[in-house]
Amino acid sequence: MTPVTQAIKPPSPVARPKEPLDPVYFQIRDLVYKVSGIYQPEEKLYLLADGCGRRMKQLGSRSPRDYWDHLTANPSRDGELRQLLNEITIGETCLFRSQAQVDALRKVILPELMADKTRQIVKKLRIWSAGCSTGEEPYTLAMVLMEESEGRLKGWQFEIAATDLNDRSVETAKAGLYGEYALRNTTDYFKRKYFVPAENGKLQVRQEVKKLVTFNRVNLQDDSKMLFMKGMDLVFCCNVLIYFDGVSKSRVIGHFFNNLNFGGYFFLGTSESLLHLNDQFHLIHFPGTIGYWKPSLSGAKP
């Protein structure tokens, strides 16, 4: 598909008080989307420009146009793209990163999954946070499920598998210690209920929350390991696939699809898309967020 944004909304003096951006950034935005599926909305384009600026400084490139050549023509373009993706996704993780995703989970998805499982004897939900980094996402999910278990999910069992490629991230995640920045979206209600004060003004996730999450080091490209992650109701994989090339990305997405139960859901980051890499998933719109659905066996509509 041809880039279309400029047609729907060309640079506007109203939306952007700063000086107009070099049009090259629109090209870079399209390139980033094409290789990673990450879409930088226009109001965040200056962040992309900042990221490019830092890279340009490192490389000593003189203009955005010159940097564009690094991203495209230069023999090191794959490496440079990866560096840029690092720049723009850095510092993105925090607890309760996407309220729209949490709402969709609580209000739409959990009631639906429960209805699907009414006939099962053991009431159980399995969730996988793939590429969990330092644990923000799986702990958020655990807290949300604990909240729900006081109501409609009473008596249900949960298992949250959290995996990451990076050993150090996994160790940090296990400790469950978070500072102000990681907690910027966490309400006082959740802070009081699910954390205990720790040193240096940090908060530590309570033991009951930790008990719901199992952390492991897993390489998503390790096909044999991926086979052991079966029977998931939900898979979250945020800003991880962006680093894979097209072929490996397709393969990993295929694993996620196979590991999901029929009727299960797959979530990416809020501005991330599957592109056209998998046509078995259905793209589903929830209020303010999108997810991907593995159609149920009955073929019934969601």
Binding site: M1, T5, I8, P10, D103, S271, H276, H282, P287, I290
Partner: protein
């Protein structure tokens, strides 16, 4: 719906009064919009835009919004027609007129939310039809803008009943359409049809108003109804709904409207829905800005 209910709707909608300056422009404008493009006289449109000074001034301001495509405010109406094209100027005039057509005091639904949805839907319809290669992009805009006129009719002609509908929809976080059915027994699709007849709207716009919640029953060609149906769903999922959280989910590709549209426009399959959605988000701020402009002081 019984005959007496239908009669009641007809009677109450017939009593809706529009603000005085509007029919003088709106009624002839709707006639112009019904005409095939080659029969439309540019001077006629320019005359309609110029009829009322405040409407003309507002149209010129709207023309300079990024949503309509000009970087600067045009110097004259004729120059707006030259740079934007006749159809787009008609769209602007229609948007402007509709924003002033009814008194908006004491609506049960927040007028700004309603207009954000209507204008948002119009924009998405136009964008959608561009992407699937439909030649009638401005018609899609008009259809999106007018698809919910029945909700305006409900606000004005059935204020008490519709207030209960809105309350029910908010509490149950359900679609307005469902709440209308359970509270009133009829919906904005019925009241909209009556209004569409009164205004003499084009048959395909009538189809959109009557069947955007029930695409299967629209009469062929159903492509336009399908575009509006899908755009409406998308807007309600992306911060361009009626101003409350609607607890639902949408599988656009499994929707019957998708299949209908695909028959007419095979290009549909190539659409990147995720990106389309992200781009829609970018337009939300601009749409809100335009709603403020259109409503001005007429919404409280």
């Amino acid at each position: 719906m019984t005959a007496s209910v239908a009669e009641n709707i007809r009677e109450r909608v017939a009593r809706i009064e529009t603000t005085p300056a509007i029919p003088a422009v709106l009624v002839p404008l709707l006639k112009v919009l019904n005409r095939p493009a080659e029969d439309v006289d540019i001077n006629e449109v320019v005359r309609l835009v110029s009829y009322d000074n405040s409407i003309a001034a507002q149209c010129m301001r709207m023309a300079s919004s990024p949503l309509f495509g000009l970087a600067q405010q045009p110097k004259s109406i004729s120059s707006a027609v030259v740079s934007l094209g006749l159809h787009r100027v008609e769209s602007i005039l229609l948007t402007c007129c509709m924003g002033h057509a009814f008194p908006m005091k004491s609506w049960p639904l927040e007028p700004a939310a309603f207009w954000r949805h209507s204008l948002g839907c119009a924009m998405v319809c136009r964008r959608f039809s561009e992407q699937i290669g439909s030649p009638e992009t401005e018609k899609a805009y008009t259809a999106g803008l007018l698809h919910d006129i029945g909700i305006m009719a409900n606000c004005v002609a059935f204020p008490g009943e519709f207030a209960l509908v809105v309350q029910r929809a908010r509490e149950a976080q359900q679609p307005l359409f469902d709440a209308e059915l359970s509270v009133m027994g009829f919906t904005h699709c019925e009241t909209g049809q009556v209004l569409a007849e009164q205004w003499g709207l084009a048959p395909e716009i009538f189809q959109v108003i009557a069947f955007h919640h029930d695409v299967d029953h629209a009469s062929a060609p159903r492509g336009l109804v399908a575009i509006v149906h899908l755009s409406d769903l998308l807007c309600r999922m992306r911060d361009l709904g009626y101003g409350y959280y609607e607890c639902s989910k949408v599988d656009m590709i499994a929707d019957p409207a998708w299949a209908i549209l695909k028959q007419e426009y095979p290009e549909l399959e190539r659409i990147d829905l995720a990106r389309f959605t992200f781009e829609l988000d970018e337009a939300v701020a601009e749409i809100s800005e335009m709603v403020r402009m259109v409503l001005g002081s007429s919404a409280s």
